[in-house]
């Protein structure tokens, strides 16, 4: 699969403070890639470097065939990208169509393409009937939808969205997510900055967790599996020391006890759970339930970010 973004050791420092350090990752064509991280983790700085809005202090990144540090290449990169910034940044006194036509022309798209895309995406986002209204009269969710259309008006190869659903009501956030999923079906490459873990899990093919440095990168499922392992939860009546010792004898590592609940991390629960259950029973424990719990992306994220 060919890549559309290749970042190598990207670093950005502001007045001696490091915003992003040694960031290396690839994004494949047609992929939805999520960059997760707490506030101030460097997500927006990364996006700005990739969009050639700010230059890296060191390291390189290629978008398509062009280097972000090359002045001539930067114009071509910007033409390839549709950006949804964290602030919508629309001209409030102008109508939706005037806003979109202006940006379409700034992206150097033919007028025919601009008009077709405006109609297509405004209809998709249920804003077609509001097209002649001034943006200033819109709700936050409607403005965000217009910002999404603005990013698509020139048919970009790559869509970069910075917190596209932040501060939106659930309905508007759902619409934006559905649009992203529709674009994914169209084989668009999308890079998504978010701290909405549920959203990332549902939409993204791969996820990178950033906290100045890249802490992990993989598919959501692999991250959950490899970073956190699988756990078996056994609820036992009146846990005592001999029961715990019997379990430790069978499976010496990673046992958490909380009230009558035992959480045991194991690589292969299908193989290990029966023998542990036997040990508990042999030690006189009465088992109320046995279940397997899988770590969520939230568990992985919090573990990595706190470390």
């Amino acid at each position: 699969m060919s890549t559309i973004i290749e970042a190598h050791n990207l670093t950005k420092k502001y007045n001696g403070n490091t915003a992003v350090e040694d960031l290396s990752f690839d994004i494949n064509k047609g992929e939805v890639f999520g960059l997760l991280g707490p506030n101030g983790a460097g997500k927006t700085t990364t996006i700005r470097m990739l969009c050639c809005l700010i230059s890296p202090s060191s390291g390189t990144a290629k978008v398509g065939d062009y280097d972000v540090t090359d002045i001539n290449g930067s114009m071509k990169i910007r033409k390839m990208i549709g950006l949804v910034p964290d602030n919508v940044g629309l001209y409030e006194s102008l109508s939706v169509v005037k806003n979109l036509e202006f940006f379409g022309r700034m992206y150097e798209a033919p007028m025919q393409v601009i008009k077709e895309n405006i109609e297509k995406y405004l209809k998709m986002l249920d804003l077609w009937n509001n097209r002649d209204q001034a943006v200033g009269t819109f709700s936050k969710g409607m403005k965000q939808k217009v910002a999404v259309v603005r990013a698509l008006v020139h048919d970009p190869d790559l869509l970069i969205m910075d917190e596209p659903t932040a501060n939106l009501d659930p309905e508007a956030a759902k619409t934006i997510r559905e649009v992203i999923l529709d674009l994914k079906k169209d084989n668009r490459t999308i890079m998504l900055n978010t701290h909405n873990l549920d959203e990332a899990q549902r939409i993204c093919d791969r996820i990178g967790i950033l906290k100045t440095k890249l802490l992990a990168i993989d598919t959501p499922a692999s991250l959950e599996r490899t970073m956190y392992g699988r756990k078996t939860e056994i609820i036992v009546e009146n846990i005592n020391e001999s029961i715990v010792n019997a379990v430790k004898l069978e499976h010496p590592l990673n046992i958490e006890i909380n009230g009558d609940k035992m959480m045991i991390e194991m690589k292969d629960p299908d193989r290990d759970t029966p023998s542990i259950v036997s040990s508990i029973t042999a030690a006189g424990g009465r088992i109320k339930s046995v279940s397997e719990t899988r770590a969520s992306l939230e568990d992985v994220y919090l573990k990595l970010v706190k470390e």
Binding site: L53, L90, E92
Partner: protein, 245 residues
């Protein structure tokens, strides 16, 4: 430099400006007011006070300097709004994300400030000349306008003063977050013009000779170059996104 891109920016700014009724009114009203009030005042002095023709001619020539002052003052409002408005609406980031150079955006801002201003000032000056001729020709015995003096003001002084006001507005807008502060600081940048006018009235310097007007124009030109350089240095995408608050 692709001027067509600058023109798209300018057209958008002009469309936004059209919807700012108060701003539009002040841009149109000030030159019209000046173009009407000054000839009336000169006519009053000439007729009621029986001033000699030479004094009337001197008065008309010195009053025309006002048009240079408002040419530097009024663009401050448009160019300050052009940048501070983008800051307030947070529209600079998506604008800078388009394949457009900083210079192309900056030139677009210049055009959108220069065009309405030059039209408005020229309209006011035309009104001033026509009314002045109608109201004073019987006292002077001839039509005072057009003359070389007003030609220098019209074609050199006014365009340069508009460029000065525009550059200063852009430069100062980078430093402040609201239009009012930009206006206040911008208005202070006109102090040299006021001093010149007062010196003219105090007969310390003549604002009515062609040579002096050309020297003043040269001074404005140098000031334009300096402020343009400063505004270009300020209007840098990385600084806009990381330092402009």
């Amino acid at each position: 430099m692709r001027l067509w891109k600058s023109w798209i920016v300018a057209k958008k700014d002009l469309a936004v400006l059209k919807r700012r009724k108060t701003l539009m009114a002040s841009i149109i009203a000030a030159p019209v007011l000046l173009g009407t009030a000054l000839p009336v005042l000169v006519s009053y002095v000439a007729v009621r006070k029986s001033a000699p023709p030479s004094f009337v001619a001197e008065l008309l020539a010195s009053f025309s300097f006002f048009f240079i002052i408002i040419s530097a003052l009024l663009p401050l409002y448009i160019s300050s709004y052009g940048i501070v408005g983008e800051k307030v609406e947070r529209s600079l980031e998506p604008l800078l994300a388009t394949p457009t150079s900083d210079g192309e955006i900056l030139v677009g801002k210049y055009i959108s400030s220069f065009l309405p201003m030059i039209l408005s000032i020229y309209f006011g000056l035309a009104l001033f000349m026509i009314l002045a001729d109608v109201m004073t020709s019987h006292v002077l015995g001839y039509a005072f306008y057009p003359n070389w003096n007003i030609g220098i003001i019209l074609f050199i002084g006014v365009p340069l003063a508009i460029m000065y006001g525009t550059s200063f507005g852009i430069f100062i807008s980078a430093k402040v977050n609201n239009v009012q502060t930009a206006y206040q600081i911008g208005a202070a940048s006109l102090i040299p013009f006021y001093i010149l006018y007062i010196m003219g009235e105090a007969n310390l310097v003549s604002l009515t000779t062609n040579t002096n007007l050309l020297i003043i124009s040269l001074g404005i030109f140098i000031a334009v170059l300096i402020v343009y350089y400063l505004s270009k240095a300020t209007f840098n995408r990385e600084r806009i996104l990381t330092e402009w608050k």
